[in-house]
Amino acid sequence: MAKATLTAEVVMNEAVAAIDGVLAATDVDDFTDDDKITPREVRQFLARLRLLEGVPFSNIVADSALLPIESIRFFYVDRGWTDALTQGALSVGTVNTGDRAQLDRLYGAIEDEIDSEERLVRLPGGEERQAGRAGLMTGFLLRSRAVSGWPGLHVRAYAREPDGNDEEILPESHPDRLKLLRLERLAPAVMLALFDGMPEVVHIEEPKRGLQFGVSLTETASNTYSASIPARNVQTANYVDENGAEVETMAEAKRLPVRFRPGSPGVLDLANTGRAFLDDDSLGMGSTLDGAEFALQMIRFPYRQVFGDPQVTSDFDIAAVFRPTLSKEVGALTTDFERVFDAD
């Protein structure tokens, strides 16, 4: 006759030994079916915190002089800072020494999970999910009228300039393109973008709301403007240069002057502008002018500003920068500060 052998003592001993932390899954990744240790809501909160959601702007940019009006500032994201941020958030859940001991054991795994979660915060439709360890994070802050006047600016960052010219658009999952981790207007005129890697070029593009038509204005004298458009061959839709040869980019194209109506600022004289187009053989417009050909000449692709390599200056010797000699100047600065603060 058999006998049950499970005693209360055995159970108790094992429960006490349970504090010796080993990882237990609490969640499963929807796509990869990997086990996740960190519960989903905690993971998502920490990932958004990593992207500085909710962090007061004065803690991001400590002084307004660092981001003057009409400026763009590129930066690297200090992972140490964001790690400290997540550690602070995690510290809320620890109450006693046992908790902290356990969190110590778990932290490495939590950090890895947040690293991979970072890329899932912003998932635009039609793009593939990207995975992998978190690497270098960079970005820029733009404070400009361009942000307030053109809501919905497109921002693209490329690890390698696409095809060597500025007129290419690659999908976000392309290896040459960097994933945009966060793109947000923090204030009406301040935009923050975070990239998943180190960009070689950054494109900021005018929002596309259908095609637009227009000219390039040049101020020739005080308040006097002339306008021109890049020449295109209407048969092939390619740009043509001074010699009538087709060229790839707008920058190389010949400029065609645009005529205006006297006495009316900004009003185009279309018929005469069009006739001038007809006279130019390299445009292939034939003998009569029609609306489609004219529209093709006047199409303005959304303006795209290209920012090149932001002159990486790495390997600062921290000790050299924080030299005590600075404190002498700082002393003078302090008095200045005091004067200003006293004046308030």
């Binding site: 960190t38 637009q212 038509f213 921290i318 404190s327």
Partner: protein, 696 residues
């Protein structure tokens, strides 16, 4: 089909028939050499081809540029409207039979390719947008508007001849301003919600300009106009120029109308309005419009209307007006959010038209024209230049780059230099911040001892690539309090960056109760999960639980262990708990009765043995009912009632003995909790029934 990202441009799609009424007449002729008079009745029917004429249905507008009620530096872009139906601009003839000839472009006017629609952009004060007006009044008086109309009331744009001459497209231009675009429907960016991929586009011929004279943003209204019958009003071609002076003046209705606030209600409800407002000009001193009337050059004050020195524009300094358009846009947004939902469309449209409501028609001497407006929207040109100039003038740098010592916030170039009685520029509020090449900023810091010190702080954005320092052992892997991350650096000051980050993270986490709850839940589960895992391991070691237990986190551990234990234990009760105890212990055997109990019983009861055997075989003690039992002689002396009770008692005793004797030993008493009906039950049931009958 066009590929995504590509498009095809067409000059136009001219429908074979214009909009209007048509008679379809069918005639049939029959001929026969033999029979004459084979006449067939003529069949005629009326067909109407409809097309918008005074109002463009909203679903036909796919997009407008600039977006309605937007602000931006749109100086180098032509406003446009995209219309869903590709034939729309050519569905009517601008020059109808009987309309006046167009002397400067007769061929173009008669050409079917010339659209009847034009997109005209006017600035504030250059024209007047009407309220809903009967369509007969929506065109310049004298222009006939016969034929079917789509609406009873419409809007019109009233403009003086000067504005038509300066701003409206010429007849020759019209063709160039309309085209058809074909895009892929899969290209949401370009298809804009179209159904067939073809859409008509009408461009304006005017680049919106910032007001460089007064240096303030300009509100523009783009109107899609019906030109039917009024081609002759369009301007004649002029010799072109290669440059334009952006400060040139077009027209200002405010300069020719009195300053009293004009209530459109008054104007449209009472005919006496003209006499009320016309009086200032009774002396024939009507100011002429022209460059002189807008003498706001210099941006300060001007006296335009001698009779009315309090004109609003005259008193407004350019600096104060700098943000005027922003206020207008904000007001429109306010109206949009505060109006009740039924009126909101009207209220917003009305607010957008402020500035285009100046009724100048009664005051200008020149001829004024009215054009039906099919669609209109307003936008504000807020600055010189465009996105490219703004972007190219950006101050580019890595974070930590300070602006140069003389850096000034950029101002529009046209603003007059600060001087005169304008307040001098405020002192720079403070000295430039102390910034190191590493991006650290020196900030005032009050220590816990109350000492005023300076400390270094650096935000998350730094000008060079950093490493995760705790990965390299410089810092504790995990900090539990912010003080663990306070660093003292070689210059003796503290670097509080990470400590501050820690504290910010803690405060942000605490500010979200759901996150705190999530963490606490996780904390509980972590211990629960560990316990479960270890119990799994240990329980698995015990023989009968081997491989049976798999505790997971989501189940309560205690409950789960109990449930599993019961399941395992009940699978084989004999093995786990031993044999079941019998229901009754057998009594002590009586040897002399064990040999033949039935015979002994029959002898003892003085009944036939056969009866008992039969009862045992049938398991039915009812057999005994038929057995006669001998009674003692004294039985007759007893009271019949007592006798009956004794009989019944005897019966019951006998039956209970028999029932016990006939118990089925093979019944599984453990298995069944529900009792089968046995012989005793039958007996009891019968007796109860009998009793009931007797009592009745």
């Amino acid at each position: 089909m066009v590929a995504v990202g590509k498009f095809v441009l067409y000059d136009g799609f001219v429908p074979p028939l214009e909009a209007g009424d048509y008679d379809l007449v069918a005639r049939h002729t029959l001929d026969s050499p033999d029979v004459s008079g084979l006449n067939v009745e003529t069949q005629s029917s009326r067909v109407r081809i409809t097309s918008p004429r005074f109002k463009l249905p909203p679903d036909q507008i796919l997009s407008t540029f600039p977006p309605a009620n937007s602000e931006g530096a749109y100086e180098s872009r032509l406003p446009q409207i995209v219309i869903k139906r590709r034939t729309m601009p050519w569905e009517r003839r601008p020059l109808r039979p009987g309309d006046p000839d167009v002397p400067h472009a007769p061929e173009e006017a008669a050409d079917r390719n010339t659209p009847w629609l034009a997109l005209v952009v006017i600035a504030e004060g250059e024209g007047e947008i009407s309220v809903e007006t009967p369509i007969a009044d929506c065109v310049t008086p004298g222009v006939p508007m016969t034929g079917p109309s789509d609406v009873v009331k419409g809007l019109y744009l009233a403009v003086p001849e000067t504005v038509v001459r300066k701003v409206f497209p010429t007849v020759e231009d019209l063709r160039l301003l309309a085209h058809v675009r074909e895009v892929s429907l899969a290209d949401t960016e370009n298809a804009l919600g179209d159904d067939d991929g073809f859409m008509a586009v009408v461009l304006a011929n005017r680049l919106p300009q910032f007001d460089r004279v007064a240096c303030k943003p300009v509100r523009y209204m783009a109107c899609l106009l019906n030109l039917e019958g009024q081609l002759d009003a369009l301007p004649a071609p002029t010799p072109p120029i290669n440059t334009f002076l952006a400060t040139q003046f077009v027209f200002n209705a405010a300069a020719v109308t009195p300053s009293q606030p004009v209530d459109p209600d008054l104007r449209f409800m009472g005919a006496e309005v003209d006499t009320v407002f016309a009086s200032p000009f009774a002396g024939g001193e009507v100011p002429r419009s022209g460059p002189g009337t807008r003498a706001v050059l210099g941006g300060t004050t001007a006296r335009v209307n001698a009779g009315n020195p309090t004109r609003a524009t005259a008193a407004t300094s350019s600096r104060a007006a700098e943000w005027a358009s922003g206020a207008t846009t904000a007001r429109i947004s306010d109206i949009a959010s505060s109006s009740n939902s039924e009126d909101v469309a009207f209220a917003v449209r009305d607010a957008m038209k402020a500035g285009f409501r100046i009724p100048f028609e009664a005051y200008v001497l020149e001829k004024t024209y009215r054009f039906p407006v099919l669609a209109h929207w307003s936008f504000t040109c807020t600055g010189a230049g465009s996105l490219d100039t703004i972007m190219q003038e950006l101050d580019v740098g890595l974070l930590g780059t300070l602006p140069g010592p003389d850096a000034e916030p950029p101002r529009p170039e046209c603003l007059p230099p600060v001087g005169g009685d304008a307040p001098p520029p405020a002192d720079k509020p403070r000295v430039p911040p102390e910034v190191t090449g590493t991006g650290h900023v020196g900030l005032a810091h009050k220590t816990r001892e109350g000492e005023d010190r300076r400390a270094w702080f650096r935000g998350p954005f730094v000008p060079f690539a950093t490493r995760r320092r705790h990965h390299e052992g410089d810092l504790p892997v995990l900090a539990h309090v912010s003080d663990q991350l306070r660093l003292t650096i070689p210059d003796g000051r503290e670097d509080l960056s990470l400590a501050i980050a820690f504290e910010i993270g803690r405060l942000l986490a605490l500010s979200q109760p759901s996150f705190v709850a999530g963490l606490m839940r996780w904390r509980r589960e972590q211990f629960g999960a560990e316990r479960a895992r270890l119990l799994n391991g240990n329980l698995g070691k015990f023989g009968q639980f081997a491989g049976m237990l798999d505790l997971s986190l989501n189940q309560g551990v205690a409950r789960e262990v109990g449930r599993r234990f019961l399941k395992v234990a009940s699978a084989d009760l004999v093995a786990n708990f031993g044999d079941a105890r019998p229901i009754a212990d057998p009594g002590r055997p009586i040897d002399h009765l064990a040999a033949n109990p039935i015979t002994d019983l029959a002898n003892g009861l003085e009944i036939d043995r056969q009866v008992l055997t039969e009862a045992q075989r049938l398991h039915d003690p009812a057999v005994l009912d038929r057995v006669a039992v001998a009674r003692g002689a004294s039985a007759e002396t007893l009271d019949p009632a007592i006798m009956q009770a004794l009989d019944a008692g005897l019966d019951e005793s006998l039956r209970s003995v028999l029932t016990q004797g006939a118990a089925q030993p093979e019944r599984d008493l453990r298995r069944s909790s529900e009792q089968d009906q046995d012989a005793l039950d039958v007996l009891i049931q019968r007796q109860t029934e009998r009793r009931k009958k007797e009592l009745d």
